[in-house]
């Protein structure tokens, strides 16, 4: 199994296409950082415009933690599309290239083979998020410095002490890893049914776009299915940046306002992953390789 995983990772990271996503993230993050560095004050004014009349905010709001939050809000919607590029190509790409039949004539069980492929797609997803974390968090901290974090949430402001932020980012990135692995599982499952990569990649992207729209639209009919859509739960990483307050409305450091939301979303996403991988194993074990 370990050998299979090594081989799969070797193939992924030797392929030029793999680095498109890393380059895309680098370019996007750099553009946003450059924009905020040169004209960040206006962006802050825009973000806090609703609350400006009722609150007087002093201090360095545009710091590395704030920039990272802004970046994650923008990018975690687009990263699934980059993950689909690789995950939805895992089986269909091999079928299209004709290498699938060569691989499956080797003494490797189909169960191990498919599991190794999914784990490799997961490792790729994690690498992409680690790269995003390095650029969005650490580079932003270098460029903009640290400070207390102030973010607007549904009509109110959340203020987090600088010393109370870093662990929240660790939690948020771990949650994002789970969410992105769900996306990888969707793409991976679809890649079983095609002999070219385009179909599963486009199908994965379409599913994400449609499910995201359904998750965000407030229509009674859609509200019934929202709890079951993985896209509804993918945004629960934001819960790490909401904090409990005491009776005097003072923040309680080290707390999360709704930890149960994070747990519930994590469970729903984990169920999606297990179900999709189990279905992938089931389908692949019975699949006639005709490519």
């Amino acid at each position: 199994m370990w050998t299979l995983l090594q081989i799969e990772l070797y193939k992924i990271f030797r392929r030029p296409r793999t680095y498109i996503a890393f380059v895309a993230i680098t370019v996007l993050v750099s553009i946003v950082q450059l924009g905020l560095k040169s004209d960040g004050k206006e962006y802050i004014d825009f973000v806090l415009s609703d609350l400006k009349n009722s609150l007087s905010i002093e201090g360095k709001i545009l710091n590395g933690y704030f920039v990272c939050y802004a970046l994650l809000q923008m990018l975690l919607v687009n990263v699934p599309l980059l993950i689909a590029l690789i995950a939805a190509d895992m089986i269909s790409g091999e079928a299209n290239a004709g290498t699938l039949r060569f691989l499956l004539t080797k003494p490797v069980s189909r169960f191990e083979f498919i599991l190794a492929k999914f784990l490799a797609a997961t490792v790729y997803t994690l690498m992409l998020l680690i790269w995003l974390a390095i650029l969005a968090l650490f580079v932003s901290l270098l460029l903009f410095g640290t400070g207390d974090m102030i973010i607007p949430r549904n009509g109110y402001l959340v203020q987090l002490k600088a010393s109370d932020v870093f662990w929240r980012y660790i939690g948020a990135f771990c949650f994002a890893a789970l969410a992105m692995t769900t996306v990888a599982a969707v793409g991976f499952f679809l890649s079983l049914f095609a002999e070219n990569s385009i179909g599963p990649i486009v199908a994965t992207m379409s599913i994400i776009i449609v499910a995201t729209i359904l998750s965000t639209m407030s229509i009674p009919l859609f509200n019934k299915i929202k709890p079951f859509l993985f896209t509804t739960h993918m945004v629960a990483w934001k819960e790490f940046f909401d904090i409990k307050v005491d009776e005097n409305n003072a923040s309680i450091a080290g707390t999360v306002q709704h930890p149960e939301r994070i747990t519930r979303s994590a469970i729903v996403l984990a169920i999606h992953i297990v179900a999709l991988v189990t279905a992938s194993v089931y389908v692949f074990k019975r699949k006639d390789v005709l490519s």
Binding site: I7, R14, G98, R101, F102, V108, V289
Partner: protein, 312 residues
């Protein structure tokens, strides 16, 4: 000494919805055979080979390799098999060396020396570090064969190994097959739609058409110029077959096709066969000797579409 049965296929059937790609196919490949698997494109060769390699699940029938059931001993069996199916597709963005090492690792540990030695055998050592996307079809085919051979398998399965190759490439593959059989004592199953290609290398030949066995025998017998294939048509072919099975001709019988009974005999025995058929009270419509196996192959495999290929 008993010859080991390397492949034993019994009553193999594969259906894709309404299409029966392989229909009740049975054959045996013995140790040391170069088994020629002949049939026109779409005859069911690749489907059969894919079933032998567990790429496709049979609808019915059993497959044993090395005396073990393929379903229950898959990995143990595939450890002893090397195969190239149709085109030898590998990772184009990797070098020949990297491809060979990658595939070899799926069979177990492999050393740098072993990889280079194998590339040397197929004449690619000087291109080891070049990316496969720069290779010709012949070079890719040789690399595919290197991948099939690197773990020193007992059985080698080559599906249409000369497809798309130039004459020199075809000769190289032919020599390699003979070398593997004679010098390294390997057992080979080689499929082709070209009779001329198989007759030079195969020790046994099986011809299939529309998924069914048409004729099987040793090359020595099938290509023997003193022997001929005779097609017998009667008003009741099933009855004719039954009668012949109970006669002295039973060992010469090949099989009953839809329109005829096929028998392989010495040319000199044709008059005797004719007399016996009349004595069996069969209502004979025709008794047609074929000049050669090629002649027969062309006819039984409905070779209309591929006549050009056979007349090369």
């Amino acid at each position: 000494m008993m010859t080991q049965e390397i492949i034993k296929v019994d009553g193999l059937v594969k259906k894709f919805h309404n299409l029966t790609a392989v229909n009740n196919l049975s054959f045996t490949v013995n140790e040391g055979d170069v088994y020629g698997f002949l049939g026109q494109n779409g005859a069911g060769k690749s489907t059969t080979i894919r079933m032998l390699l567990t790429l496709i699940a049979p609808t019915l029938g059993s497959i044993e390799l090395f005396g073990m059931n393929l379903q229950t001993h898959r990995n143990e069996i595939l450890q002893q098999v090397g195969a190239v199916i149709e085109k030898p597709d590998v990772y184009k963005y990797l070098s020949a060396y990297d491809n060979l090492k990658l595939f070899a690792r799926l069979n177990g540990k492999v050393t740098h020396k072993k990889v280079m030695d194998q590339l040397e055998v197929v004449g690619l050592a000087d291109r080891a570090k070049d990316k496969v996307k720069t290779f010709s079809q012949g070079m890719k085919q040789r690399l595919g064969i290197a991948i099939a051979l690197i773990h020193d398998p007992k059985l080698i399965v080559l599906d249409e190994p000369t497809n798309g190759l130039d004459p020199q490439g075809i000769a190289d593959i032919r020599n390699l097959i003979l070398h593997l059989c004679k010098e390294q004592k390997k057992t080979l199953l080689v499929s082709s739609h070209l009779l001329t290609e198989i007759e030079h290398i195969a020790t046994k030949v099986l011809i299939i058409d529309k998924g069914r066995k048409i004729i099987e025998g040793s090359s020595a017998d099938l290509f023997d110029p003193t022997q001929t294939i005779v097609e017998i048509q009667t008003t009741d072919n099933a009855f004719a077959l039954q009668q012949l099975q109970q006669s002295n001709w039973r060992n010469s019988l090949q099989l009953e096709r839809n329109e005829a009974v096929v028998i392989k005999i010495d040319k000199q025995a044709i008059p005797q066969l004719h007399r016996d058929l009349v004595n069996m009270n069969l209502r004979l419509l025709s008794l047609q000797p074929k000049h050669s196996l090629e002649d027969y192959f062309l006819q039984v495999t409905s070779g209309k579409q591929h006549v050009d290929a056979f007349t090369n």
